[in-house]
């Protein structure tokens, strides 16, 4: 059922692109203390009614991207340059008070640990009402019917009773449903979901993902889904961007990227994520370590670990010059940041 909806959307998307809701342009974020770069010249667009997955391993910069968009960067991290546009307006240029009016109203966020993010001292009904009180000026009494409706909508049984519960009385799955209800109560246009199902059981994970898909389809919600799990990407993302060492190394429609990944890192990540025995009976593990990219200021960030660079004999170029994101396949918008792909594509032409 869901896959049919997905396919139908893809056909529409191919004909006409929806309006961009979140548009990140040339974003650079770093840490002051050790001068490490967390996000390196990132461009990313999320359009109305689409789920874009930002996938990568720990330290790749994917969560920092989410926090930058919300202007919730931790102390010590700073924006060096770039823009985060929502409906064309640069959030990074807004004064803090104006940003408060944007959070919850235009852009909202889901977190990995819903039970920790909920206020333990307030009923969940109050927490869902809060965005309506702040952004719509409703009283708690006037907001209450919306709260009940929101809880019912995200699949909470007995919403009238549940609205009076506290976070500790909820299961992890219920808490994440409540977080979704709270995040969406003032009808933002974009939802940033940072590992929303990582802490949940797999059967509950599928239910929460289904809910996000329904919100995309019914409310034309734009979703930026931050995850390390290609299983989640495969299940619900329309497009995917793969991050490595603060850089997007490949992006495109999910089907194209997962079926025919072009960047050696995407290929390696997919191969190790399958956890399927190789011919020698062992699991494929990406050689080297992500820390090899630390401190690299030129060349491809992945080249110290890249086997393709060695087998193609283009290591020198990979070490000295950084490839740009360029067309990787016939699939629309499928791009990769790899000299190897460009060399082999050029050779074929």
């Amino acid at each position: 059922m869901t896959s049919i909806v997905l396919n139908a959307k893809k056909e529409v998307g191919a004909v006409q692109l929806a309006e961009p809701i979140l548009d990140i342009r040339n974003l650079n974020v770093g840490f002051a203390r050790n001068r490490l770069i967390a996000i390196d010249a990132l461009d990313l667009t999320v359009r109305r009614g689409e789920i874009v997955a930002l996938v990568g391993e720990s330290g790749s910069g994917k969560s920092m991207t989410a926090l930058t968009a919300m202007r919730l960067l931790p102390v010590g991290a700073g924006i060096i340059s770039g823009e985060v546009r929502v409906h064309g307006r640069d959030l990074l240029a807004l004064p803090p008070s104006a940003m408060n009016a944007v959070r919850g109203r235009e852009i909202a966020m889901l977190y990995q640990q819903p039970k920790i993010m909920l206020d333990p001292t307030a009923t969940i009904g109050r927490q869902i009402a809060e965005p309506l009180q702040i952004h719509r000026g409703l009283s708690l009494k006037d907001a209450w019917p919306h709260v009940i409706e929101a809880l019912r909508d995200v699949g909470i049984p007995e919403p009238e009773r549940r609205a009076m519960s506290y976070a500790h009385q909820l299961s992890g799955g219920m808490a994440q449903r409540v977080m979704i209800a709270a995040a969406l109560s003032a009808s933002p246009d974009i939802l940033i979901a940072d590992e929303p199902t990582t802490a949940l059981d797999v059967t509950v994970q599928a239910q929460i993902l289904k809910l996000l898909v329904r919100k995309r389809d019914e409310a034309s919600l734009a979703v930026l889904l931050i995850t390390h799990d290609l299983m989640v990407v495969s299940a619900i993302a329309d497009r995917v961007a793969v991050m490595y060492a603060g850089r997007i190394v490949e992006e495109g429609e999910t089907r194209a990227v997962l079926r025919s990944p072009r960047h050696p890192y995407t290929q390696a990540l997919l191969r190790s994520s399958l956890l399927a025995a190789e011919e020698d009976g062992r699991l494929y593990a990406i050689p080297g370590s992500a820390s090899a990219a630390r401190g690299l200021s030129c060349g491809c960030r992945y080249h110290p670990r890249c086997q393709a660079a060695r087998s193609l004999g283009i290591e020198e170029r990979c070490r000295s010059q950084e490839p740009s994101l360029s067309t990787a396949s016939a699939s629309p918008g499928h791009q990769s940041r790899c000299w190897g792909v460009q060399v082999t594509a050029g050779g074929m032409q």
Partner: protein, 343 residues
């Protein structure tokens, strides 16, 4: 299909003629908690589990949170008293162990936990953490202990430069290697791994699983792998027990469980966990709702409120774990594969 007389099949799922290394026999562990109005509630964490782990095998225990898999591990380690049933390690009832024999049992059975940051004392150096089990069990002279630690660090793919480091100076993958080294220093016979790779990235996870398989053959280990990740289990385990709300619902060899699951819950777990690069898009069909509270588990089959194939019988009569063909066991009135057992 190979038919077996069900009258011979009791609750023991032991197809092998060899002597098991570990036998869990109708184990029950309930936790008493203070419920509403001062009433005592029972959390039926492990509620009548029987299984055998054979020497040299990797035995997988899978299930979602609250199914009792970690409590079962704690009972097997004698870290928690049990309410009923027995755990036998090489034929000896753990309940009878104390003093020197308990200490020797502790050497023989070790555990690797999920979170290496929590498993190592942040104020101790790696050397101190590795030295602790050796001095606790008074093994070797100081020089021998040092040599053993360095040798074991090499076994797990690290080296002596890690000795003076604190956990904060290592990555998660490196710390998990240290935890594995610490467990193996005592030369255990049985290694229990409780979600050893859940906190790790995809590429690190593959490295740690490869390491565990290498060490298993090098040290002749028997392993119990506890995981919620069916992909990990499919790769590493010889036999698999699937748990739901304190009960084993299916038990079979890895290949049978994955190619021919008999219990609807096993089927749903597999559908929800497997990544298939050929089949992009679409969500798996999963059961509605969440695992009910183990304080008041559903009547009859505990899975029946979420099961799409339930019938009236399922809410009334708890299904027994019974063979559905040879060494394939399932607790379901209407198993989806194999032979239907008599009710």
């Amino acid at each position: 299909m190979n038919m077996i007389d069900t009258s011979l099949a009791n609750h023991r799922a032991n197809p092998c003629p060899a002597t098991p290394m570990l036998s869990v026999d109708d184990l029950v562990k309930h936790f008493r908690i203070r419920g509403r109005l001062g009433r005592q509630d029972l959390v039926r964490s492990v509620d009548g589990v029987s299984l055998d782990v054979m020497p040299g095998e990797v035995f997988g225990i899978v299930g979602e949170s609250g199914c009792g898999k970690s409590t079962l591990a704690r009972a097997i380690l004698k870290l928690t008293p049990v309410d009923d049933g027995r755990v036998l390690f090489e034929g000896t009832d753990l309940a009878t162990l104390s003093g020197a024999r308990l200490k020797s049992f502790r050497r023989n059975v070790q555990i690797v936990f999920q979170d290496p940051y929590a498993a190592l004392d942040p104020r101790m150096t790696i050397e101190q953490s590795l030295m602790a089990p050796l001095s606790q069990h008074r093994i070797g002279t100081p020089a021998e202990r040092n040599a053993a630690i360095v040798a074991m660090l090499h076994e797990v793919g690290l080296d002596e430069t890690f000795l003076p480091r604190k956990p904060s100076e290592c990555s998660g993958g490196q710390l998990q290697r240290v935890v594995i080294a610490r467990a193996l220093l005592l030369k255990p016979r049985l290694l229990i791994c409780d979600e050893p790779t859940s906190a790790l990235d995809a590429s690190i996870r593959a490295q740690i699983l490869n390491l565990l398989m290498d060490l298993k053959s090098r040290f002749g280990l028997t392993m119990i792998m506890i995981s919620h990740d069916l992909r990990v289990v499919r790769y590493i385990c010889d036999r698999v027990a699937v748990m739901y709300l304190g009960k084993v619902v299916e038990l079979a060899s890895r290949d049978v469980v994955f190619s021919n699951p008999a219990h609807p819950y096993t089927k749903a777990l597999i559908a929800a966990s497997m990544l298939d690069s050929e089949e992009v898009g679409g969500l798996p069909e999963v059961p509605e709702g969440e695992t009910p509270s183990p304080i008041r588990p559903p009547s009859g089959c505990r899975f029946h409120p979420r099961c799409s194939r339930r019938e009236a019988l399922c809410g009334q009569l708890p299904p027994r774990l019974d063979t559905v063909g040879g060494a394939h066991w399932a607790a379901c009135h209407f198993p989806q594969s194999g032979r239907k057992p008599e009710v």
